[in-house]
Subunit: 254 residues, 2 copies
């Protein structure tokens, strides 16, 4: 084990390719298109707005590296992070007929993104014969379904779970999603967000977020070092969080 912590550093397009081809087998052409798109990437700092509040036609993008989120701000400054976006996740891929009212997409860490209009066009054009979608179109549909599942998960967490349960549940979901893009090694993965961000995602105050993380560590369930986290006892976490995987991959999530 060399010095680099979670180095790995896969090709830029890896995350998206891995995720989409995990949803549906892609044709060589489609895989090539993904690589081609990812050739032109942009680096953006943390706290960059990728989609502005109520923007009519957001540009399709792929998050290749770093974390982002969809969020909503209340008039008095309260913030709710609606979903966290991880490497390989798509942004603005489904063309909406009307803008989402008052929501924005922003990076949480420095991030690498790329334009993805071609992806959407390719999916719209190809793979629609025989009544059954295939390839890229099917993968994008599946990606949309996953987003809905994450949203439902978020509702249940916020509506009916305690702080302790929420964090456990969230960590398990992140683990499963990162595993789908091969970024988890022995239940250890990069976790580059501050407790303030976590609090805004889980509907808690920063102070209580801190208390809760400490409790999880004291209970030997998680271990945090620098910007990486290790889930020390996944079965216990699953039991605490009442976690039923997202059926994203064949991972033993549930």
């Amino acid at each position: 084990m060399p010095g680099e912590p979670l180095a790995h550093a896969p090709a830029a397009s890896d995350a998206a390719l891995r995720r989409l081809s995990g949803y549906a087998p892609l044709t060589p052409d489609e895989a090539a298109l993904l690589h081609q798109i990812a050739a032109r990437t942009v680096l953006v700092p943390a706290r960059t707005e990728l989609v502005r509040d109520g923007e009519a036609a957001p540009r399709p993008q792929v998050l290749l590296e770093g974390w982002a989120c969809r969020q909503r701000l209340l008039a008095d400054g309260r913030r709710q992070i609606v979903v966290v976006l991880l490497p390989g996740d798509l942004i603005g891929l489904d063309q909406r007929r009307r803008p989402l009212p008052f929501g924005s997409v922003a990076t949480l860490t420095p991030a690498r993104i790329c334009e993805a209009g071609a992806l959407r066009d390719a999916a719209a054009g190809g793979g629609k014969e025989a009544g059954k979608e295939a390839g890229l179109a099917a993968a994008l549909r599946q990606a949309r379904e996953m987003e809905e599942i994450w949203l439902v998960n978020q509702v249940v967490r916020l509506g009916r779970q305690t702080a302790y349960e929420r964090v456990a549940h969230f960590l398990l979901e992140v683990r499963e999603r990162l595993a789908a893009v091969d970024r988890v090694q022995e239940n250890r993965f990069s976790f580059p967000i501050t407790q303030e961000v976590l609090a805004d995602a889980l509907g808690l105050s920063v102070v209580h977020m801190n208390r809760t993380m400490q409790q999880l560590r004291r209970d030997g369930l998680v271990e945090q070092r620098a910007t990486a986290i290790t889930l020390r006892d996944v079965p216990a976490l699953i039991s605490i969080a009442d976690y039923t995987g997202t059926h994203d991959t064949g991972i033993p999530g549930a």
Copy 2:
């Protein structure tokens, strides 16, 4: 004004037709199909499961009368209602590649529903020329977008709003959605659910739900009689809830 409170009693297909044609203009054929589908309706009692937990391929249905919900149960019995479904709403219309993990759809009141497989087929077959969707297909897409907006609204409510704000926000959303199917008269509409259901939808206990409703009444913001509710001061409610309409209709929601 005759005796019947909110009688009205539109044709069974009215709610769905009104909603979908509000999203995109339907062809006469498509409108006729809606009527035809709604000809064969089924009456089901309250607490009927329309889609079971993790069901692979739920039958497409339309809720024509009554209220329902998507919900999720935790192992210890806690329940979270994910979204409330109102007359005109669609159930299981988008064919999923995998079942939603652990969620079910159930009626909250006696309800009238109808099969809608033909709707989905019609949308898949027709209206896809010229790159731009039209008619039924576009309307269904828009309906899906609205569902996502409701989910996001729910996340913000549960994550960052107080009980008082949550109820105000929820009532405004229901009002807007019912208005889209012409079931609101002077801010008065049918509200046939118990406080227990409301509590499960808004992530509160029944007792606190009760406290909060009473406060809203005492403050002159809402008035409840029997199974109907009146929003007495919509601007005040909007301000309290920080409500930004769903852009569903041209209603002065925001």
